[in-house]
Subunit: 306 residues, 2 copies
């Protein structure tokens, strides 16, 4: 099978060759070890100008504020509703994220899933002129399909909310909820007034944010094995890519470089922490990862709209 047939939206070149070589080699990996872990935001779908999940939360926040003006008295919510970047920066991402998580405190899993699915049915990307749910990278979908045809279990390992991504992972990528590893909100178990068990979202995170080394630990905790392939696009994916590449046997560590301001966005990601200044593409070269240039390696970025 040639690269054209397997990955039709990938342009010919060293990147596609490296991916095809891995797809050939993975047939020699024992079946139970065939696991691929793919980051979501910026790796499978567009994360600019804001995370889709943030759009979802702010959309919900606007609806709550319209029904109850008191919502705007909470500093985190006020800053979000006003789009006040200075205030948001001062409050800090962690407090903002927790305030947004608190919006769905007490909500059951099914209701939360429904809210996400309703939002994504119609919500549009602010500048790309298409629904968010179509801002998935076509070449990555082809890679997912090619992996699956080689009996590789495809998992999503995201810094985003586990339940947010699960609500759409099957529809967008064919990935079932047990193969989505993300930042998890704790549930509270209780009995209702008729004595039946209930499970409701809290405003607490079950662990830390699923980024960096936490991704590696959570892959083992939830999926029970080391991936032979990993894909990411940012510092938060570094350890996961190193983990996949450090195994015995064939492996693929793929880094998506956002260098296409015409068709998507152009932005550099730093190597490890907010303090480190090494671009993640330099790190990739140093560690022998396969870097995907969106501009050069992808003939098509998004599927044409029907």
């Amino acid at each position: 099978v040639t690269g054209e047939t397997l990955l039709p939206s990938w342009r010919q070149g060293v990147t596609r060759d490296a991916v095809v070589d891995f797809l050939d080699a993975v047939s020699s990996v024992p079946l139970p070890d065939r696991l691929a872990c793919l980051d979501n935001d910026g790796t499978l779908w567009c994360e600019r100008p804001t995370y889709v999940q943030l759009d979802f939360f702010v959309d919900e926040l606007r609806r709550r504020a319209a029904a109850d003006p008191g919502v705007g008295d909470v500093p985190e919510y006020a800053a979000l509703l006003a789009g006040d970047r200075a205030a948001l920066g001062e409050i800090g991402l962690e407090r903002v994220a927790l305030a947004l998580t608190a919006l769905f405190e007490g909500t059951g899993a099914v209701e939360f899933t429904r809210a996400v699915q309703e939002f994504l049915r119609d919500a549009r990307h602010p500048t790309l002129g298409r629904p968010h749910r179509t801002c998935v990278y076509l070449p990555m979908l082809e890679l997912v399909e090619a992996l699956r045809r080689r009996d590789v279990t495809v998992a999503i390992v995201t810094g985003g909310g586990t339940e947010f991504v699960r609500a759409v992972s099957r529809q967008l990528y064919g990935v079932p909820p047990e193969a989505v590893v993300g930042t998890l909100v704790d549930y509270d178990y209780a009995r209702d007034d008729r004595g039946r068990p209930t499970l409701r979202r809290t405003a607490r995170l079950a662990g830390g944010a699923n980024e960096g080394p936490v991704k590696v630990s959570n892959i083992q905790a939830q999926l029970g094995r080391r991936p032979v392939a990993a894909a990411g696009n940012s510092a938060g994916d570094r350890e996961m890519l190193e983990w996949a590449a450090a195994g015995d046997g064939p492996s693929l560590a793929l880094l998506v470089d956002h260098d296409d301001p015409e068709r998507e966005f152009a932005y550099a990601s730093r190597a490890a922490t907010l303090e480190e200044t090494e671009p993640v593409t330099d790190l990739a070269a140093r560690l022998g990862w396969t870097v995907v240039s969106m501009a050069r390696d992808w003939a098509t970025v998004f599927a044409p709209l029907a």
Copy 2:
């Protein structure tokens, strides 16, 4: 399809009828909701006279003690090596379990898996005259297969160690590691002296023991949906069975009653906590669960040895 064809090791009767009715009805459940959560010890395989996992740990302990007599100075280990039930009772199950967990502190996931697999290749049940790995209930394997043919995802939700069960879940039940939810030992992420990422077992549990209401929370956390079928045999499965039965649409809550001293063991399980005295079979009748009498409902308990 009749009950005989579908579940050949189950005897005709109300129990098999209830199971077959559910297998018919599950075709009307939307595909993504088709999840079955099965307890392991006492539900899929024999848990008497001791848990297989305890046998594994004590076997390892004996080997360590033979190599290093100092091991026997630890009170928990001394009591285990002597089989001193009084001392073990005084120390308490929690401290004993933590001491056993500590045996594999610093071990990588792959090495731990290998140790479990090696143990189970040869280890024999002390009284049933067969290897542990063949002490799996044939009627339950038939149920697993029947569920899978109806596109139901089969997960194991066990109070046992997640990684212990994962080491054999594929071989014994065809269940991949991401579908095993158990009591999880934390991992430590670190870099080795060559800078490569490593993941090693600690002596800490990642959450509490996976029993009772914790099973319900962990099902949501790891599998992302409510099961439509659940099977168990003890108080630790109560909330999971209630959770499965409380959904809309068809459901199956199956309780295995160990009432067969001839072919297996006879023991009653209490309803909810160690303090409650209501037998779990009475609770099952009250809540409308399907109770499997091993003596009456199963024509065969274990597969004949080859």
